[in-house]
Symmetry: C2
Subunit: 370 residues, 2 copies
DNA sequence: CCTGTTGCCGAAACCGGTTTCGGAGCCGAA
DNA sequence: TTCGGCTCCGAAACCGGTTTCGGCAACAGG
């Protein structure tokens, strides 16, 4: 058991040669046994597996890569552009992916890009250099050049989000549309009839979906759709404050506002405070994301939270399946966001306290904290 | 120029064999020419380099890895634990590293861990699997088991931050101590004599350094050190609010507070507001980090900003140098933070407006926005 | 002219795996 | 007994690079 190669200190990997020597088999046989070829007897297969376990053998991914063409790495290209700087859940997201990847002995390789064009170029570079075997594409846009490229290159990928042309796409997504609809229904259940909506960036695919959800909620509640009550383009608190101000300064302002993003909702808070309105009493707000700041705002924000860590893990697993050639129809899933009822919503003002109207399906009212 | 290997579509890498065939040289010669061996004539060296450029040859990192033992990947293990979730600059940091890495044809491999013990285990796993050639260690602690491990394994690493036992350590760091000192001097220059300090998590190495900077500033200004004015453990706005409240409720409260973190300062804002104090007039605040929220707070926060993207890039370059065996003494650098003077600091209240006292070296007063 | 360097490149081993091919043994059937 | 087929493994090529070794030519010195 002496070190065969003197790489300075205690650094020594057990290779497939060590294993084969120990077992009295050729390395080809050992390799086939480990990789489940069916021309290996069950007895030697277990013998090899046991020895590999005992000796702590871990195949060198780089060596496997050169013959198989698989780098055993997942790729993630982050947009590090100026307007995308705020990513509250990035660490959780990475944790989900990384954990799922290392379970399979794969690694997570990340790169950054400054804009859409740079993103595409970076993806192309990683593919050309054979650095990764597939991509996770976060923040999908309605029309997304990254998807076109990967489709063209025939490189596996999965979307965090959906997209316009779903041809060849696998995805995991959170149902923002259901959340927005439930928010409207919940507010209607509390007695609100004028419910505004502040949407996010319409370039991203989630925006039309959440808008549809808001409209579906209105329709389901039997409420009219007043276009004046719908604003969009709010992804920062500042923008949220501006859009909120527009709504509140309307001749007939809403008594409740649904926001597509928590950060926008925090801006609406400020717009309301500036007008002497108390959130949760004079104005109800329900949003979406579940950022930590939402829990410590005054009042705490009622919001639909998403489990970004779980999303990352699911995406990694979907990508594995995709790389291994699974059927696309099994690789498309949309899961609901989780309502966290807090203090920013309540009955509309100027309403006699009484039995709340019962309107169709009762909105979900789970309680919980992050 | 026909595809020699039919990997589905247009996917085709030019290998060293293609190059050698084209040039009429053996691949060994081509390899040596490309890698700067001195037994290759200058003429063929340029001929090979030109052909490689023309044909777009990029060596396959995995193939190089198995012989050289270098994975050509930088490692970064992120702490994804519950209290470390807020990382405002992570994207910028990753961008800095990733960009510097890809310039050298290297990649950035990231993994996550939930606590200190998990971090060490994850690092050990990455080393054992030969996935990376070196590590960037963010958020160094005074006593840091990651450093002990890597020192023991003789694996190259660089610190973002400094540490207690600097033996074998290279680092890039921002001088938080100078920033804190300059903050005190700036406030003293404005006329303040009772200046409080709210520090961060004392487990991290930056905390004692910033505290020393605060004390150095007091000493340099000829101000007494009142232990009552020093608090620590504030890394969230909530904690900042609590520590700020303690200071403001003192019998003889400070007229200015220096915070080790912007987020804590935002909490101090709330503590001050709750007491009817106007920031920038009744209470001056200067902090450190340069988070986006600081710019949009009311009033905008005067703070010492750090360029996290540049730090990431520098760390990557230092790590390259370390891996290539450069002298440690050339791989230790501390750069200053950049003051962004905004509206949260001013002369102390109850002071006759008049010529400001001139106290020794005038504090730096650069103006600028992020 | 012969010899000893030196410059420069070819040949081949090597790294740690995977995959193809062929054949040795064992079995049952004719 | 012989033949065919099946099971299971060894041998060797292969992947795309790097590195060692040896030797051919040109050149300088004696």
């Amino acid at each position: 058991m002496a070190l065969s190669k003197g790489q300075s200190k205690g650094r020594y990997r057990v290779t497939i040669n060590d294993l084969s020597r120990e077992l009295g088999l050729t390395k080809g046989t050992v390799s086939r046994a480990l990789n489940g070829y069916d021309d290996i007897s069950e007895s030697t297969r277990t013998r090899v597996a046991r020895a590999a376990e005992r000796m702590g053998y871990r195949p060198l991914a780089q060596a496997q890569a050169i013959r198989t063409g698989m780098a055993r790495a997942l790729g993630l290209v982050l947009n590090a552009g100026p307007d995308n700087t705020h990513k509250p859940f990035l660490t959780d997201f990475l944790d989900g992916i990384s954990r799922a990847a290392s379970e399979e002995g794969w690694s997570l390789s990340i790169a950054t890009a400054l804009d859409e064009q740079d993103e595409v170029a970076t993806i192309a570079r990683l593919v050309a250099e054979h650095k990764v075997d597939g991509f996770i594409l976060p923040r999908t846009r309605v029309s997304d050049p990254r998807i076109d490229l990967l489709r063209d290159l025939e490189v596996p990928f999965v979307l965090y989000g959906r997209t316009g042309d779903t041809e060849g796409c696998a995805w995991h997504d959170i149902s923002g549309e259901d959340a927005m609809r439930d928010a409207v229904l919940r507010l209607h259940g509390l007695g609100h009839v004028r419910i505004g909506f502040v949407n996010g960036d319409s370039g991203f695919n989630y925006a039309p979906l959440r808008r549809d959800g808001y409209l579906a909620g209105l329709a389901e509640a039997g409420l009219p759709h007043d276009p004046d009550l719908v604003r969009s383009g709010a992804i920062t608190p500042q923008q949220g404050m501006a859009r909120g101000a527009e709504l509140l300064d309307l001749p007939n302002p809403p008594t409740a506002i649904v926001c597509a993003l928590d950060r926008a909702a925090l801006g609406v808070y400020r717009a309301a405070e500036a007008r002497g309105l108390r959130i949760g009493r004079d104005l109800s707000v329900i949003a979406y994301d579940g950022i930590p700041e939402a829990a410590t705002a005054t009042p705490p924000l009622t919001t639909f939270a998403v489990d970004t860590r779980a999303a990352g893990a699911r995406l990694a697993k979907l990508l594995f399946a995709r790389i291994r050639g699974a059927d696309l129809n099994h690789l498309r899933e949309v899961v609901p966001a989780h309502l966290i009822a807090r203090g920013s919503d309540g009955p509309p003002p100027n309403t006699e306290p009484g039995p709340a109207r019962n309107t169709g399906p009762t909105p979900p009212t789970q309680k919980g904290e992050t």
